[in-house]
Amino acid sequence: MTTAVANLVMILLGGAMLLTAFRLFRGPTFMDRVVALDLLGTIVAGFIAVYAIATNQPVFIRDAIVLAVVSFLGTVAFSYYAEKGGKP
């Protein structure tokens, strides 16, 4: 039962990733893309957690931790350069 629910949740998260990627490609300004990339990193961290449940394989959980941290660092760096100047 848990495996079936985890597979369904992985499909739902895939749909959420598609919606976020739509905003990532479409976003009218640079900061829209930055925020969409941040949400995409967060969703992928959750996807890794659900994948670990679906396959009973707890190896990939550290990837989720690293991805959460690196996604935050990317947001901070992009925001720093967007605030310093250049075209938004």
């Binding site: 976020t20 967060t42 969703i43 961290a45 989720a64 938004p88």
Partner: protein, 132 residues
């Protein structure tokens, strides 16, 4: 029993993450989109991590799931604060339907920041730049 809790947390988290993604695709404005992403997405992924910790049931993996939740709780408010401030200072203004613009009231005419540029004045300054 643990299986039921795991399934419930998985579905709860998926509901919140999908809500965040729909808000990201549908909302009219950068700041409202950021509102959807930072709150709803974080709660959804924390719920998924809790399901992970309950499913495996060992302290090792539970601590790692707790670390995921801790990093998300630490970084989501800071990241969205920095992104919203950078967006506002780089010239993005809230949607016309917004009720209040608190940062604009604080920044206008202070700290060397210019007031919110109108479309016309921005166009004029763009025209004047090549002459000077």
């Amino acid at each position: 029993m643990g299986e039921l809790i795991t399934c419930g947390l998985l579905l709860f988290g998926a509901l919140f993450v999908v809500t965040a993604a729909v808000g990201m695709a549908r909302f009219p404005d950068l700041f409202t989109r950021m509102h959807a992403a930072s709150k709803s997405g974080t709660l959804g992924v924390i719920s998924l991590a809790a399901a992970l910790g309950i499913h495996f049931g060992s302290a090792d993996i539970a601590i790692q799931a707790l670390l995921i939740s801790l990093f998300l709780l630490l970084t989501a408010p800071i990241g969205s604060h920095i992104a919203a401030r950078a967006a506002y200072l780089s010239g993005i203004r809230p949607w016309e339907g917004s009720v209040i613009d608190a940062l604009g009231c604080r920044l206008d005419g202070r700290n060397g920041h210019a007031p919110a540029p109108d479309q016309e004045t921005a166009a004029e300054s763009a025209e004047q730049e090549p002459e000077t």
